[in-house]
């Protein structure tokens, strides 16, 4: 007897949410919901990572919780939370499962860009969709362009229709999205974002992500072959960088929040395994948790994590100031402090996830525990953009009074 393959309908791409999302009304509620959702996501985080089990059901619960809509402005029916809150929400989720923390990264970036460059009708329509539970993915980066900021994907306007052709890589969230924002350049080199329905003809999302970390983000490729969308569904994204806006710092602070979350998760696990570790034979101690050398390592991680969290909060406050007053000075200030957050969160995520295994001892590397995922996730996610140039960004402002360039990576 032959069996035809069956496909779980809950794991099929959908152009719309299956249920309306809860609408979060305040910053405090956002934090409370994030903590509750994070508890849920922590339960099977290691299992999902080990099996590379794509988080279809978890993402449904995530967006239905209302957390994907918390940055929708109050004028459009959302909570319009501060970036202090948004970055904390991302860190909370990322501590539980950093792939799930990363998945809305570009969604929130698109919401920011929509608010800055979208027309009134576009904002009303798409903010309403997000409040209903729609998820944006992304098809921005390209593997073959010279710089991350340059695109070969073309967008051509043909009357009231836009036509796109190209190939994208590292498309976090695209597989699970209801709408896939695609970045393309027009004939004069301006970057636009077309909001493409997930089931649009010519749009192919390829689950080709095989990174050893952030395994369930499905950050694979997207092929765009003659995709046609109404011109009204195209946002002039370039305008967010033609003048000073908070768009770049917003994009970056979410990165730092993910890494801070990884560090938190790794530190919490470090405490757990270090309490269970055996004492070293030469120490003369009865218990591993009495080990003064181990305690000092924990202390080192503790203050560095506190520092990363304190700077992340400062960075988010600077982003909030840049949102309120998008002057050249404010935006540069936000980029610089967010750059600091990127440095400190990268350092502690890598350090904590490595010390976790050192303090846990050999028993902690048992694959059944999956504790290596913290280092794999930290190493992978912190490669989003080279942190060595953030030290430079900070120093150049201070030493040479040169402001950061305006793009999505600053």
């Amino acid at each position: 007897m032959s069996h035809s393959p069956t496909v779980d309908p809950s794991q099929q791409p959908r152009p719309a949410p299956r249920r309306p999302a809860h609408i979060i009304r305040s910053d405090a509620e956002a934090i409370e919901v994030a903590q509750r959702v994070a508890e849920d996501f922590a339960q099977e985080a290691a299992l999902r990572d080990r099996e590379r089990r794509l988080p279809w059901d978890e993402l449904e619960r995530f967006s239905e919780s209302g957390l994907w809509a918390i940055s929708v402005p109050k004028a459009y029916g959302g909570a319009g939370v501060s970036y202090v809150t948004l970055s904390e929400v991302i860190a909370i989720i990322s501590a539980a499962d950093s792939s799930l923390g990363q998945l809305p990264q570009n969604h929130f970036g698109v919401l920011s860009n929509l608010g800055l460059t979208g027309g009134e009708e576009q904002k009303q329509r798409y903010f309403a969709k997000v409040l209903q539970g729609y998820r944006f993915g992304n098809a921005f980066s390209e593997a073959r362009s010279q710089y991350v900021t340059t695109f070969q994907t073309q967008i051509r306007f043909d009357g009231d229709t836009a036509v796109l052709d190209g190939e994208k890589a590292y498309c976090t969230g695209a597989l699970f999205a209801h709408i896939v924002p695609v970045a393309g350049v027009d004939e004069v080199g301006h970057v636009h974002i077309a909001l493409v329905p997930r089931d649009a003809a010519g749009l192919t999302v390829i689950d080709s992500w095989d990174g050893f970390g952030q395994r369930i983000t499905a950050s694979g490729q997207v092929r765009i072959d003659g995709v046609r969308v109404p011109a009204i569904d195209v946002v002039p994204a370039w305008k967010a960088y033609d003048q000073p806006t908070s768009d770049g710092p917003i994009s970056q602070i979410i990165q730092a929040a993910v890494d801070t979350g990884i560090a938190r998760g790794a530190f919490a696990e470090t405490l757990r395994v270090a309490r269970q570790a055996r004492p070293w034979v030469d120490s003369g101690l009865q218990h591993g948790w009495q080990d003064p050398l181990g305690q000092a390592l924990v202390g080192e991680l503790a203050w560095r994590l506190q520092a990363a969290e304190a700077i992340l909060q400062r960075a988010a406050q600077a982003v909030d100031r840049a949102v309120a007053e998008p002057s050249e000075e404010r935006v540069a200030e936000a980029s610089v402090i967010v750059g600091q957050a990127k440095v400190l969160s990268t350092e502690i995520a890598l350090e904590a996830s490595s010390r976790l295994l050192e303090l846990g001892g050999t028993r902690s590397v048992s694959a059944s525990q999956g504790l290596d995922r913290f280092w794999r996730n930290a190493r992978t996610h912190t490669l989003h953009d080279p942190v060595r140039w953030k030290y430079h960004l900070v120093g150049n402002q201070l030493l040479n009074d040169i402001k950061p360039q305006r793009h999505s990576w600053n």
């Binding site: 405490l271 270090a274 309490r275 948790w289 003064p292 181990g294 305690q295 000092a296 390592l297 924990v298 202390g299 080192e300 991680l301 503790a302 203050w303 506190q306 520092a307 990363a308 304190a310 700077i311 909060q313 400062r314 402090i337 750059g339 600091q340 440095v343 400190l344 060595r388 140039w389 953030k390 030290y391 430079h392 960004l393 900070v394 120093g395 150049n396 201070l398 030493l399 040479n400």
Partner: protein, 128 residues
């Protein structure tokens, strides 16, 4: 204010003093635009701002006070290293105002607190 807290402020002030001297020196040098020099200046500034951010929280608990103390010490250490590397000289760090637990002891006490819930006595990290 405890000795540790006071010493943390002293280290942070020293780091800022060295940074200012370093900037003065570098602004007269063509190397001010070299990537490695610029990044080293950024690295130092990040350590100073991290300590400053922790100073804002240092009065909330003994653990935050120790965290500030250790961050300030790192800022001072990185400042000294950067000045030596980039200016070829050293600037003397002021002598401590008063005795405090050694930094490595404070690091261990903080770790014992997180790992085992050990109480941090007043003066180990110091509230202001």
């Amino acid at each position: 204010m405890s000795h540790s807290h006071s010493q943390g402020r002293s280290d942070l002030a020293h780091a800022r003093h060295v940074e200012a001297a370093l900037l003065d020196y570098l602004r007269g040098q063509s190397a001010r635009h070299e990537a490695l020099v610029v990044a080293a200046v950024g690295d130092l500034h990040i350590r100073i701002d991290a300590a400053d951010a922790l100073l804002e929280r240092a009065n909330t608990s003994q653990s935050t006070a120790i965290a500030f103390r250790l961050a300030a010490a790192e800022a001072a250490r990185v400042a000294g290293h950067a000045y030596f590397e980039l200016a070829g000289r050293s600037l003397p760090r002021p002598l401590p105002d008063a005795a405090e637990p050694a930094l490595l002891t404070q690091r261990r006490l903080l770790g014992d607190h997180y790992l085992n819930g050990a109480a941090l006595a007043d003066g180990q990290g110091g509230q202001g």
